[in-house]
Symmetry: C2
Subunit: 307 residues, 2 copies
Amino acid sequence: MFLKNREDTINNILDIDLKSNTENIKDFIRGYVAKLKKDGAVVGLSGGLDSAVVLKLCSEAIGNENVLAVILPERDSDSKNIKDAIRLARELKIKYMNKKITLILSLIGIYRMYPPSFLFKKSIVEKYITRKRKSISESLGKDLYISNLTGSSNKELCRGLAYCRIKNRVRSALLFYYAELNNYLLVGCANKSEWMIGYFIKYGDGIADIMPVISFYKTQIFAMADYLKLPDYIVNKAPSPDILPGIIDEDMIGISYRKLDIILYGLEKKYSVSKIARISGATYDEIKRVIEIIDKSGYLRKWPVMF
Amino acid sequence: MFLKNREDTINNILDIDLKSNTENIKDFIRGYVAKLKKDGAVVGLSGGLDSAVVLKLCSEAIGNENVLAVILPERDSDSKNIKDAIRLARELKIKYMNKKITLILSLIGIYRMYPPSFLFKKSIVEKYITRKRKSISESLGKDLYISNLTGSSNKELCRGLAYCRIKNRVRSALLFYYAELNNYLLVGCANKSEWMIGYFIKYGDGIADIMPVISFYKTQIFAMADYLKLPDYIVNKAPSPDILPGIIDEDMIGISYRKLDIILYGLEKKYSVSKIARISGATYDEIKRVIEIIDKSGYLRKWPVMF
């Protein structure tokens, strides 16, 4: 689904000049490393698209020898993603660390909440998670994604969110640690699509010293990945937070990236709803939902709310 | 030193209406809990002044039964602070958790860097740390506090910073975890003095859902503590990050809070340097140094720098 309509989007409204944009990003990374007197850059590598694009950009900006890729898998991580991450770091000749954080998360006590995927067939765990999500959604009687944006007294939902979010927060604490030990800059991988709809963990993957691709929609990150000649094993998989088995981005968000990005673009350009519907192929309800999501996720994009 | 001149400051230029200000803060906390549909508030309790003030304000705002105090000591924590934190939570009838994070930090591998204080007399460890700071400072040949604000190729300094910062980042990950498990709001304790000079850990104690006392200088937090009738064992100790034995705030920052706050106030009001010198008793060099610190710490107060 996420790939089907890529061609007409890329050759279309979300087209960007890939050469000049990637050069600008590289200048930005280089400039910031110099400004903060850092000796290199750390990128947290997940095996997914965004971190691969950022890793490649860092490597081209400041030299592969000054980049450290940090891979931080845990019990529920997809083993294919770990392998892909390691393979990419090796192919790009970038030094990497692969440190499991399962024990740390165990000490915090999170794994009591969900069955370990290594004890069961992947398909069984995925079914279990899907059923759980469905039952929470039904008991709430509303859009699960929107419910996730604010608090909820539903205990199951709270546990699920806490379970997922601590993983990325422990990761970012470790990424900063390795960055600081080496006097490196922590370079984050958030993109504009996920940023605008709050599809990131506040103070988890939503933090870093700099966020070099945050002005670009996911569709544009795909185009960058092609332009940067990232390998198929990175590009050709459904985007997923890899935080719970069986969860992929477009299922969670409830809309395809293609539609979402054009809606976000249209809203940014202040197009009329009918024009947005025409160019994105989205229904009025889908557009209304995105507007609600942007609104309700606003506090996630703000530095701690001040008094 | 931090207490000596309190009286003339409190009755002076930094005076605030304590009744209306604390009422406004409580309204703010209550409003945010409601807005984000939370069932209560979490406060990370250190045994120090700021978190005690915030805890008391939360308790008065939403009721002590809806507040959870989380105490997260580690190997190097001052045992007096832990005792004071527990005592305060008990006296205020606020439920609390006391979870040691030493094992988590051990797994990350940080403790190999410094000698454990429980094996030595406190005074010996403090001497060791002080000597280390002095030797780093001498080899850098410049102001250690200002050097801490950007990167440095000094390996000793990098290790020291990484060692301290990971502690607060693991703490904030855990605070969010307990907040989310309970559908509580994480309420942070940063104040204006430390915020303006970058005396906080970016994405460590510098993050939370809301920061209700961030518009107030440390001098004003002291006044609030008196007004809120916080006990002597909390108020009468030298402010310290309690992150390395022997480190107290005013030594680290290199200026007393009293002077600092009046300088910050004067700069905010755009007073002339000579006026600031007159009202604060600071030298021109001290004022120049604070201006440099504000400038160099600017990036710490920004949400991840965007492209």
